[in-house]
Amino acid sequence: MIPAAFFLVLGAVIFVIGVIGVLVRREAIVIFMCIEMMLSAVGITLVAASCYLHSFDGVLFLFFAMTVAAAEAAVGLAIFVLLYRTRKTVRADEINLLRW
């Protein structure tokens, strides 16, 4: 059997890649995809834990997380569409009205 640590490390690596993506990329769509990646990483961790602990809690929790992610994606994409209509851009560094 594959050791549990493998899954946990995989989840952690994907999560960190997602975080770095959120911080360094400028296109809103890409940032959004990175957030989805972070969610997936957490999902991997949850399922792995569920499997090794012989409990359905983690799997159940993942379903919830996926539902929320889907809803969030719908709302997020709608925001981007509107943002593009009004400002002709979805680059995060060009959208900085809310500052001092």
Partner: protein, 643 residues
Amino acid sequence: MIDYVWLIPAFPAMGFLFNGLVGRWWRLRQGIVAWVACSALGLSFLFSILVFLELLKLSPEARVAIPDRVLFDWVVSGGLKTVIGYKVDPLSIVMALVVTGVSFFIHIYSVGYMHDDPGFTRYFSYLNLFVFMMLNLVLANNFLLMFVGWEGVGLCSYLLIGFWFERDAPANAGKKAFVVNRVGDFGFLLGLFLIFSHLGTLTFDEVFAKAHTLGPVTVTFITLLLFVGATGKSAQLPLYVWLPDAMEGPTPVSSLIHAATMVTAGVYMIARCHVLYEMAPVSMAVVATVGALTAIFAASMALVNTDFKRILAYSTISQLGYMFLAVGVGAFSAGIFHLMTHAFFKGLLFLGAGSVMHALAGELDIRRMGRLKEKMPITFWTFMMATLAIAGVPGFSGFFSKDEILWNAFSSPHGSLFLWIIGTVTAGMTAFYMFRLAFMAFFGRYRGSEEAWHHAHESPPIMTVPMVILAVLSVIGGYVGVPHVLGGGNHFHQFLAPVFGEVSQHLEKAHGAGGQEGSLELLLMLVSVAVAFIGIGKAYYFYIKEPSMPKRAAEALPGAYRVLFNKYYVDEIYQFLFVNSTKRLGTILWRQFDENVVDRTVNVVAAIMRVLGSGLRLLQTGFVQDYALGIIIGAVLLILFLM
């Protein structure tokens, strides 16, 4: 019947609530409002008489032993337990009778006088409220309820002086009365605090029963502080300045509040607290001296004044001085006796003034009056009755009460020749200025405009009937207290005697003594009567026989005349000393303290916050990813901390 004593103040309270709430919302007709207000007073008067008759049936000892009628607990806090309770004894019932009786007649008079005034309903609600408060003051069985009445009548006085608030003068006069009274009330309140802190109670009976435990210094302080309150409310030196200005109010108000009832509250209060005052000879001397000085001081200002109502106002101050002289020498029942007769004749004098104003379209300057006896005979005759009474002409009520005061000022252990001389001189001045007023207003030739003379008319019966009743009382009111030396029984004195206990007994003896004492009393009486007649004669000579005399007299003594005419410049001195210095202090505090200290502190705090904020706000870059970085750093730190 005595159980229902609480109804006496309850009727005016109901009248006030009905007229003040329903009458104003529904805009009831004047007739209804007047009926409600007057019948409330009428019932109140009726119940006072019933309680009085009940009291007469009891033996003199039982009259002062009636337990207080307690309605309910009012303030219960720690050691303080105060009730709403009323006290029935000869003193409080005499006061209740005077207050409700005079108020009743003046209410009726007001219906005619205030006819068609837009504030008719408001006027009668205030007037009923005033009577309610005044009855609380005189019937209360404890100092706190008395203080409520004390403040309540002050409030009504303020409201009614400034009744025509759309004009500046009444509004300012009301404010002045309120502020000056506040000074006195402050002293009164301090006196109450002292009583409570030393005796732990404010109920009259308990305070007086425990009074012997007080030290002489404490009791002197208490009585002097209470007297400060009395100088404010009863317009004595140095706080009398508000009363002449109070004449800006409607004339029946001047009659009721500023002559007959409210201003006598101080005299009543001292009589009520006679146990405390008897323990403090210094305070007694202060009260008597202030009273005597006020009497002569105010009378001198009335000599040259030309305003009908202000002459009467100074006369009121002067007569109140007499009452304080009486209670100051320990002649408490004489003080209350004069209070009662004064309520009759001074109330009537003001009603006469109102009647004259009514006839002459508000004219108040006696230099533009004259010969009015032809136009208004009833007003003239009633006014003359009151004038004779206040001048102390034998046979009229003022003679008996004033003479009893003068005799006590001389003979009482607290009295002295000095006080008697001041009192007698004042009596002469009183006779002079009152007859001057009467001669200038009702005799001689008319000095106003032709048109005003044409319109002058006698007042309607609703005004003249109360005047006639008060005139009758002014004449016969004194016969309840005819001194022994004139063969009378002095029933008034005997009725009040149980309240005032030993002192009164002592004076009773002095008063009833025959032989040498009696002849001395007769001699002094003759002197004061002679002085009064000299005053009247002088007034006759000055204002009827030789109309050029006043002018020549004024020119002969220009300095004295100017000082008197300008009322000793007391208003100006007070303006300079108190009002202006307070304003200056206020300006200094505003410029120096407020602007330099308070405002600067606030501004410095704000500036510090702004500097700090201007650094911190740089964090708000507007880049979503900066915030995300912040969240991640925070999360990492949190995890590190938890691990």
